[in-house]
Amino acid sequence: MDRTAPRDAHAALLEVQDLKVYFPIRRGLLQRKVGEVKAVDGVSFRLWPGETLSLVGESGCGKTTTGRSIVRAYKTPPTAGRICFRGDDGQVVDLAQLGDAELKPYRRAMQMVFQDPFASLNPRMTVLDIIGEPLLVNGIASGKELEARVAELLRRVKLPPEYMRRYPHAFSGGQRQRIGIARALATGPRLVVADEAVSALDVSVQAQILNLMQDLQAELSLTYLFVAHNLSVVRYISDRVAVMYVGRVVELAETSKLFAQPRHPYTEALLANVPRPDPRLRGMRIVLQGEVPDPANPPSGCHFHPRCRYAQARCASEAPPLREIAPGQHVACHFAETLTLRGAAAPPAVA
C-alpha cells in the first residue's frame, strides 16, 4: 500500500468523529450522579481499509474505551460523536445512533480479540463451542456445516482441526490466543479491534501471534485497530499510530514518522521510556515525573502540561486542538512547529 498517497474520505472503512464517552460517578445511598469521568473526550480518526492503526497510551488514557465503543461493546451508546462505518454495500451508517436490533448485521463485520480470550468464556465449552458460537448465534452455520467451518478456521490460525473437541484449559497461552483469533474471524469481519491481544504472551509466542496476525490481514484483507501499550510491538505492526492522553488524541501520524520524529512532548517521553533490550543503551530514558492525572479531574488546558518539560503559560489555560501540521501528521500542541523532539532512532553506537 502506498501510504503517502492522499486518500479519499469516502473510501474510509470507519470514520470516528468527535467521539465522547463519559461515565457517571455516583455516590451515596441514592446513587446520585456527582460528576463524570471523561474517558474519551472528543476523539476523531479515520481507518482505511487494510491498514493497521494503533491506539497507544498509558492506563486510563481511554484507548480501550475508544476501541470498545467503536464496536458498541457497551450497553449504552456513546455520550456524543459519530462512528461512521462503511457497510458491505458501500452505505455509510452511523453506528453511534443504532439500537441493538439495527446493530446486529454490523456486529458480524466488527470483532474483538482480547488479552485473555477465555476470561469471559465458560471453561466447560469445547473449542468447537467457542469458535462455533458466533456462527450459531448469527445463523451462519450449524451441524456438520458448523464443524467444517470451525475446522477451516482452526487451520487458518495454524492449529490442527482435531483440537475442536478439547477444552480451553488444555491449551498454552499462544494456542488460546489462536483460538480467540479464530473465534473473532468466524463471522468474516472486515474490522478487528485487538485489545492488548499479545500483552499477556511470552516473548517467543508473542512473535508467533504477531506474525499470524500479519498473515491473516494479508489473506483476508482485514483492517486492524490495535490497542496496545507496548511501543515496540506497535512499531512492528502498525501503519499509523494515535497517541492518547487522558481521553484525547495528542498525536496521530504514520508509524515511521511518529517514531523517528515525534511532534508531541508526550510522544517523546513515551518513546524515551520504552525499555530497550540492550544494556549498552542504559540511561537513555528520560524519566517522566508525576503520574497520569485522574480523568475525573484532569488538569486545565493541555492535560499534559503539569508533566511537560516544554510547557509555557498558555498551556495551562488553553487546550490545544488536534491539527494537521504536515500531510497526515496531526498534533495537539501549541508549540509543535518550534520544538525539536527526540525520536526512537538507533542512538549512536557506543564504543
Binding site: S204, A207, A269, N273, P277, P279, R282, A346
Partner: protein
C-alpha cells in the same frame, strides 16, 4: 571470595500433584554477589518465581524444596544454610522480615486492604526492631518520602485502595525496605505498570540499592527490564539455568540457542524494516511432558542446523563459555571431550544476534 551473599547449590523444588510431579526448579546453582543485581529471566513456567520463593522458603504445598543448599553469607565467615531452618521457624521468619524482603507484581499480594499503609509499615518495623510506635511512624513517613510518595505525612494514613497502582507499588517497596534488608527479591516488580511508571520504579530500586548497599534479585520476563537494571543474568528454561553471565555478554554474545532465540524474537523499537519476526517455534512444553535430553531440543533450530543427535537423549552440562559465562548446550561441549570447558572461551558457533 568474601563478596558472596548467596550461594545456591543444586536447588530442587518439586510440586507433588495428583497427576504427577512437576519439577519446577530442578538443580539450580547460582552465586549472588553482595551489592549486585542478578536478573532471573525466562518465560512462564520456567520456574523463575518458584526459584525466588524457595530462597525465602515461601513455597506452599504441594510445592516442596526437595534438595540442595542455600548458603547465606551474613558476614565473612558467618554462613548459614537457610534450608537447615524450618519453613515456619523463628529464624526463617527473622530472615524474611529483617535480612531479606520481597516485592511482587501485584502490590495487594503484600499489602492488607483493611489497614493503612502506615500501620503496616510500622507493624513490620516494630516486629523486627525495638522501635517505639512514635519512632516507627516517623521512620515510615521518611521511607514513604524516600520511595517518592508525595505528601507522605498525610499518605501514611491512606488505605491501599486510595492509592494509584504506581503509588501502591511504592508503598509496598517502602514496607519491604523499612528494615533495610541486605537482600531484595523483586518478582516482576514493574510488569503491571505503564512504561513511565516502570522507569520511575526501576530508577528508585537502583537509587535505594546504591544508598543501602542492597543486593537485588529481580525476576522478570522482560528483556528490556533486564538490560536496564541487571549486572548479571541467569536464563531459565523448564526449571534449569541454561545460560548465566554478565549482562553485556548475555545480550551481545549469547551462547545458548534459547537465549539467542529470545533476543531474536522481540520486536525492537529502532527497527525500521518491519521484517517478519523470527519467532522460536512451538511453545514451552507442558511440565508433565518434559522432553528427555536437553529440555530445549524440541524447539531448537541450531540442533537441526548442526545435526546434533546427542541433544535428544542426553542432557548437556553447564559449560564455561566465556570468562564469567556458562551455557548448558552441546554446541559448547563436544561429546567425548567433556573436560575441555575450563578456562576456554568457546568461539560462537553461529553468527550472533545483537553482536557488533
Amino acid at each position: 571470595m568474601n563478596d558472596l551473599l548467596l550461594e545456591i547449590e543444586d536447588l530442587k523444588t518439586h510440586f507433588f500433584l495428583d497427576d504427577g510431579v512437576v519439577k519446577a526448579v530442578d538443580g539450580v546453582s547460582l552465586q549472588v554477589r553482595r551489592g549486585r543485581t542478578l536478573a532471573i529471566v525466562g518465560e512462564s513456567g520456567c520456574g523463575k518465581s518458584i526459584m525466588a520463593r524457595s530462597i525465602l522458603q515461601i513455597v506452599t504445598p504441594p510445592g516442596k524444596i526437595v534438595g540442595g543448599r542455600i548458603c547465606y553469607h551474613r558476614a565473612p565467615g558467618d554462613v548459614v544454610n537457610l534450608l537447615d531452618y524450618q519453613r515456619k521457624s523463628r529464624e526463617m521468619r527473622a530472615f524474611r522480615g529483617r535480612e531479606a524482603a520481597m516485592i511482587f507484581q501485584e502490590p495487594m499480594a503484600a499489602l492488607s486492604p483493611v489497614h493503612t499503609i502506615g500501620s503496616q509499615i510500622v507493624e513490620r518495623l516494630r516486629l523486627h526492631s525495638g522501635a517505639s510506635r512514635r519512632e516507627a511512624r516517623a521512620l515510615a513517613v521518611e521511607m514513604l518520602h524516600r520511595v517518592g510518595i508525595p505528601h507522605p505525612a498525610q499518605r501514611v494514613d491512606a488505605y491501599p485502595h486510595q492509592l494509584s497502582g504506581g503509588m501502591r507499588q511504592r508503598a509496598m517497596i517502602a514496607m519491604a525496605l523499612i528494615c533495610r534488608p541486605a537482600l531484595l527479591i523483586a518478582d516482576e516488580p514493574t510488569t503491571a505498570l505503564d512504561v513511565t511508571t516502570q522507569a520511575q520504579i526501576l530508577e528508585l530500586i537502583r537509587q535505594l540499592q546504591a544508598e543501602l548497599g542492597m543486593t537485588v534479585v529481580i525476576i522478570t520476563h522482560d528483556l528490556g527490564v533486564v538490560a536496564e537494571i541487571a549486572d548479571e543474568v541467569a536464563v531459565m528454561y523448564l526449571g534449569q539455568i541454561v545460560e548465566h553471565g554478565p549482562v553485556d555478554a548475555i545480550f551481545h554474545h549469547p551462547q545458548h540457542p534459547y537465549t539467542r532465540g529470545l533476543l531474536r524474537s522481540i520486536p525492537r523499537i529502532e527497527d525500521v524494516t518491519r521484517a517478519r519476526l523470527d519467532a522460536i517455534p512451538g511453545a514451552v512444553p507442558h511440565p508433565y511432558a518434559r522432553p528427555g535430553g536437553c529440555p530445549f531440543h524440541t524447539r531448537c533450530r541450531e540442533r537441526i542446523i548442526h545435526q546434533l543427535e546427542l541433544c535428544t537423549h542426553t542432557a548437556p552440562p553447564l559449560t564455561r563459555v566465556g570468562p564469567l559465562q556458562q551455557a548448558r548446550c552441546w554446541l559448547h561441549e563436544p561429546p567425548g571431550d567433556g573436560q575441555r570447558g575450563a578456562g576456554h572461551a568457546a568461539e560462537p558457533a553461529l553468527a550472533i544476534i545483537g553482536g557488533q
